[in-house]
């Protein structure tokens, strides 16, 4: 498959670009909700509009009422979300939770997917238990109790946790904290007793929670996939999420870069446009190269994932790490080249820097994924 968008995908990209620039732009969404101290950190009306566009269920199988599209298509939407810094539960709900639910029973799918597809429901995923992403270590416990399970533990960095109608929770049903096996995934509904959230607003104005599970009682039908065999589902979910986060990161990087290059063409100093200075031209050209390469790696990862290739895992980590590096460069150069005005809240460039920091941390930063590339390569 060639590494560029085919005709249908290019059409989707045009649609998504127009829609997100019009409805999901910074003034209308990010600044609007931030300045009102919105408790969700995103607008439900936009989520509903995204459902009307067919975005919310694009990764859901057609048999389950979705569009049955792939990660290239989801990536197209995510890149536009990134470019516009659109606060949205798309990544957590339509990519991560939707991927987990593919492994769920018909009953679970029937309970949750229609709400997702209609844009009425929002989902979150609870994986991390420490400040850094360490999915190899799961200490939250789910003990057998009657016909079901009783969950105890704490999760952190649960994006949209407080707004979520359902949270996918990775918990341990057997073995020690570091064991690969013995993991089970659960669909934990919003109002279950013993579930509590400590809400925190993050640097990019998004909302996350520290989530506690104190004797949360769940029926056996809340299990996603196999009991004790949840690692495979968790890995599939993480893989989809990483490729998706990389795509969103490409959007963040391109948005910041475009803004900066435009600024270089407008701002005058010493009687010249600053874009005429070779010192800045070279840095901008280097940045362009890095962002283009990161984007190629991301499209490659999307295609490998859609094709079911065994190399998708390695390429997903390459993409996540490369995008994190390129986007970091883009926002740092962006703020620096804007000069003093880049430090003001009034200018959008700083918002890109904040979003990059939060997004890069989500599902593993550049260090985590470079280390993974080494491990998967056998060193």
């Amino acid at each position: 498959m060639p590494l560029y968008h085919n005709e249908d995908q290019a059409m989707l990209a045009d649609t998504a670009r127009g829609f997100m620039a019009e409805e999901g732009n910074i003034a209308k969404q990010l600044r609007h909700w931030r300045d009102r101290n919105c408790k969700d950190g995103f607008g439900h009306a936009l989520w509903k509009q995204m459902a009307e566009m067919g975005f919310t269920g694009m990764l859901v199988e057609e048999a389950d009422g979705g569009l049955g599209m792939g990660h290239v298509e989801a990536g197209i939407v995510l890149e536009e979300i990134g470019r516009n810094l659109t606060p949205s539960p798309f990544l957590t709900s339509s990519v991560l939770a939707a991927t987990a639910l593919k492994h769920g029973s018909d009953d679970l799918k029937g309970r949750y997917l229609p709400g997702l597809i209609a844009g009425d429901s929002v989902f979150a995923v609870a994986i991390d238990e420490t400040a850094k992403h360490r999915p190899s270590r799961i200490a939250t416990r789910a003990d057998k109790s009657g016909n079901g399970f009783r969950l105890n533990g704490a999760k952190t960095f649960v994006i949209h946790g407080g707004s979520a109608d359902m949270v996918v929770v990775a918990a341990r049903t057997s073995g020690g904290d570091e064991d690969a096996d013995g993991i089970t995934l659960f669909a934990v509904p919003k109002d279950v007793a013993g579930l509590s959230h400590d809400h925190v607003r993050l640097v990019d104005s998004s909302m996350a929670t520290h989530m506690r599970l104190d004797g949360v009682e769940l029926d056996g039908d809340a299990v996603i996939g196999e009991i004790d065999g949840g690692r495979a589902v968790l890995d599939a979910m993480l893989l989809a999420g990483r490729v998706g986060a990389a795509a969103e990161g490409v959007g963040v990087a391109r948005g910041a870069m475009d803004m900066t290059v435009d600024y270089l063409k407008q701002r005058k100093q010493f009687g010249k446009l600053i874009g005429e200075f070779q010192a800045l031209q070279h840095r901008a050209s280097h940045l362009y190269s890095e962002v283009e390469i990161a984007r190629a790696a991301t499209i490659k990862a999307q295609q490998l994932l859609d094709g079911g290739s065994a190399h998708a895992d390695l390429m997903a980590s390459v993409a996540k790490a490369k995008v994190a590096k390129a986007a970091r460069l883009a926002v740092q150069e962006g703020v620096q080249m804007h000069g003093g005005i880049g430090m003001t809240d009034e200018y959008d460039i700083g918002l890109y820097m904040k979003r990059d920091r939060a997004l890069a941390e989500f599902l593993g930063d550049a260090h985590f994924h470079a280390n993974r590339v080494a491990e998967l390569s056998g060193y």
Binding site: P2, L3, Y4, V261, L264, K265, L273, G275, E276, F277, Q278, Q281, H282, A284, S285, H286, Y288, S289, E290, E292, I293, A294, A296, A297, I299, K300, L314, M315, S317, V318, A319, A321, K322, K325, A366, H367, H369, A370, N371, V373, A374, S377, G378, Y379
Partner: protein, 397 residues
Amino acid sequence: MADLEQFRTETRAWLEANCPPEMREPVRGEDDIYWGGRNATFKNDAQKAWLEACIAKGYTVPMWPKEYGGAGLSAPEAKVLREEMGKIGARPPLSSFGIWMLGPALLHFGTEGQKQRFLNEIARGEIRWCQGYSEPGSGSDLVSLQTFGEDKGDHWVVNGQKIWTSYADHADWIFCLVRTDKENKYGGITFMLFDMASEGVTTKPIKLISGSSPFCETFFDNVKVPKSYGDDVPAYVGTINRGWDVAKYLLGHEREMISGADGGERQAAIGAMMKRHAARLGDDLDPVLRAELANFDVDALAYAAMGEKFLDEIKVGKAHPAQPNMMKYAGTELNKRRHELMMAVGGSRSLEWESEATEGGKPSKSWLRTKANSIEGGTSEVMLNVIAKRILDLPGA
């Protein structure tokens, strides 16, 4: 697709029957590479047999039309051939600046007479070419070149000096940028072809930091260059005084080649190989070095995806015309990093300039050689200038 699979089967069978086992070994030294030319000698019968088989099949220049010595393969067919040759480790039958540089320029700008004569010679490896671009004082800034051809009616008298002329001391002919109008900066250069045996041409090798000397200084002292070599065979490519168009076109090819976008070693991850290398030396990777290797592999694998995307986009005309500059910039910087890391893993062993273990200092010589990557074919800084102006559309300085 079915046709392509059939082509693959046939190619595999042909290679099996025609590529001698000796030609399936990695290239170990300069004499394993056959450059062709009037004075070329074969290292052994296998090298000769392999070249002759490829010439007969058109496989020295697989994508060139059959009437010019090629096999007329489509891009997907040529890719299959490359892949199948790669699988058995087949050496290229013929290495040649005629194939890589002059050929594409002649295919694009040459007259029918030039194509018939020169392309067939190149495909058969009969004439070894060198490239006369750079001059002292005119490296990346080629339009400042000074070598002058004075118009004497049916011929020019060329005086001047070229530098970095790769293998000029072994070349039979030169394709050369010569100023023919001193008033016009871009529009006063002619792309000439002439015999290195012409009276007044001398060459002198330049010893490099790597210890080898593939490059030469080349001097022209009243060299007489005729304007034509026969009916429809002008001694210049394109139009007189419009050689810059040809040079620019050819530089695009050179940059693609140097960038390794067509599948060079720069695209591969090296971490696992370096761990094995360290183990052979009785060592393990230092944690910080391992981290640097991991970061390198991220960049290398991402660049490989970019290379693939770039080639896919070229095939359908989607690539930006200045994209080869980006590939060249990123690819050559990456290759320098690769060799820095390889030297670091080898430690004191990779410093050995003369020893059996390093086959005469191969690691350090390769490392030193890569430093030229971001200079030759246009420096990294020139690449960045081109990206700034032609892709990002930044204002001219």
